[in-house]
């Protein structure tokens, strides 16, 4: 098989609420009645019971509201890693890892500014690259 004719490896987001492309970002299902945002498939709104949702882009910038540096995890998961709860500039809570900084309390600080970034976390048998998102500290 001619390598040149092979299709370029494609990318797939690790979750469907991560939008890839030139400007990676998260997209939420936003209740048209009350504005509550959810990242998962919905039957109705957990806040108001509404059943109409629209797609809403979530801001990439945010603040680190809580974190844990995880040392014990399932065997296939590299440790330590920094799990975090980020509150974005538009007030949406997001859970992910803090990346691109050492995993210690000297570098990871409550209240620090972070920004969304993406990186590859695996490839499947067809060469499709799985892209995850994390948050990295923003120099201030």
């Amino acid at each position: 098989m001619n390598q040149d004719s092979a299709p370029a490896p494609t990318e797939i987001p690790i979750v469907d609420y991560l939008v890839l492309g030139d400007d990676p970002h998260l997209v939420a299902n936003q209740c048209t009645n009350c504005g509550a945002r959810f990242f998962n498939r919905r039957n109705a709104c957990a806040h108001c019971g509404g059943t109409n949702f629209e797609k809403a882009t979530v801001a990439n910038q945010g603040v680190l509201e809580a974190f844990s540096i995880v040392y014990r995890a399932a065997p296939t998961i590299p440790v330590p890693y920094v799990s975090a709860i980020v509150k974005t500039q538009d007030g949406t809570s997001v859970r992910s890892n803090v990346v691109n900084t050492p995993a210690d309390p000297e570098h990871v600080k409550l209240g620090m500014q972070v920004s969304l970034t993406t990186y590859e976390v695996g490839q499947d048998d067809r060469g499709t690259r799985c892209i995850a998102f994390g948050y990295e500290p923003v120099d201030q």
Binding site: I14, R37, S83, S93, G122
Partner: protein, 400 residues
């Protein structure tokens, strides 16, 4: 207005890892112990509620009946994460309040063995072909990539959020909680671990999920607890001694987590605890200052600290000062987890929400031996299961 409801008898097994007993042995021991403690038998019961999580679909209540007495009474098998035992207790209370039963038995049991400390998913080393699935359209387990799904990590984050919002809270304050509970446990022969550690030892033990070290995490284990619940009218027909040893359930409340913005990415453990305890204080006509002891859900040290605030034991935002000042130690003004708490006593999930009722009842009866809190008259129990579910009970000693 329905009649008041009481604990007539209660028992717990030692929490540990049992190699030669099954869950049914533990449930039987707790049930028979509680019945004997109350001076009654299974034939006096009008309802049985059984709480167990890992064997939730196994009909544990009926299995127990088959071991200790099949009398035809209604059986409710319930589960509610770490609030499973409290939910079993609540179910019996509800049945008595509904006039369907005069006396009933609640049993909580769990056999966890050495299943390991952590929840959270694991990824296969090799995926085949990525295929989005589930409600998040995920192509692999996201645990450890999009944050943590492990319990020590989740409760670490809950604590760190409190630290972010309030001054005077950090690693040391969280560690003091574990130091306290390990110290308390040395007086409780039913505790899984009974070993004291210095604050330095707690902080220097292997890090599980910062700021929770290994000594700040509850162990897995096996155990059971049971309680016989009785309506006031029936209680008054029993002996003087049974009446004197009975413990009044002044409040029994179960809540779930109402919507909060951040709840979709990490279950909220605060609002439902506040809602439950506020309802309980009102139902019992009791204020936080009235409490002689509290058994609260210290699955991790970070959790206990935030529940000081949630349960209104300290000033708003003041949980750090609260532990620093020694108030929740057994010689303080509001002793918390004098049993050793989940951190030392252990946390066989289904048993926990009844074991804390056993602990408080035993103090209120003045039967807690070396660990007795003197003149304890009013106590509070609290459990919370992620998902979420919160059970709060306020108990009061019988008037003499």
């Amino acid at each position: 207005m329905s009649e008041s409801v009481w604990i007539l008898g209660t028992h717990m097994t030692k929490f540990t890892r049992y190699a030669d007993k099954d869950a049914l042995d533990l449930a039987s021991e707790a049930a028979l112990g509680a019945l004997a403690d109350g001076g009654v038998t299974i034939h006096d019961m009008d309802i049985l509620a059984s709480g167990t999580l890992f064997q939730a679909n196994a009909g544990m209540g009926q299995q127990l009946q088959h071991q200790i007495g099949q009398t035809g009474i209604p059986v409710y098998n319930v589960s509610n994460a770490c609030a499973t035992g409290a939910t079993a207790l609540r179910t019996v209370i509800m049945s008595i309040k509904a006039g369907e039963a005069e006396m009933g038995l609640a049993v909580g049991v769990e056999q966890m063995g050495k299943m390991g400390l952590l929840a959270g998913g694991s990824r296969k080393a090799e995926e085949n072909v990525y295929q989005p699935s589930g409600r998040y359209g995920s192509v692999m387990s996201v645990d450890g990539i999009l944050g943590t799904e492990t319990m020590p990590g989740v409760f670490a984050q809950a604590g760190m959020k409190y630290a972010y919002e309030n001054d005077g809270v950090g690693f040391e304050q969280f560690a003091k909680v574990a130091q306290k509970n390990h110290a308390h446990s040395t007086l409780n022969p039913l505790a899984q671990y009974q070993k004291e550690f210095s604050l330095e030892e707690v902080m220097a033990s292997p890090m599980t999920s910062y700021p929770n070290t290994l000594l700040m995490c509850c162990p897995t284990g096996d155990g059971a607890a049971a309680a016989v619940v009785i309506g006031e009218e029936m209680l008054r027909s029993l002996s003087k001694e049974q009446q004197q040893r009975a413990v009044k359930i002044s409040a029994s409340v179960l809540t779930s987590d109402p919507y909060v913005e951040s709840g979709q990415i990490q279950s909220d453990v605060n609002t439902l605890t506040r809602n439950a305890v506020d309802a309980a204080y009102e139902e019992a006509g009791v204020a936080p200052d009235d409490l002689d002891l509290v058994e609260l859900h210290d699955c991790f040290a970070t959790a206990e600290l935030i529940h000081y605030d949630n349960l209104r034991l300290c000033e708003p935002g003041g949980a750090g000062d609260f532990i620093d000042s020694g108030v929740p130690f057994r010689d303080g003004s509001t002793p918390v987890n004098v049993s050793g708490g989940l951190i030392s006593k252990g946390h066989p999930i289904g048993a926990t929400g009844i074991a804390n009722v056993y602990e408080v009842s035993t103090h209120l009866r003045g039967e807690a031996g070396d660990r007795q809190i003197e003149d304890a008259k009013v106590g509070l129990t609290h459990v919370i299961g992620l998902g979420s579910s919160c059970g709060v009970h306020i108990l009061e000693a019988a008037a003499n």
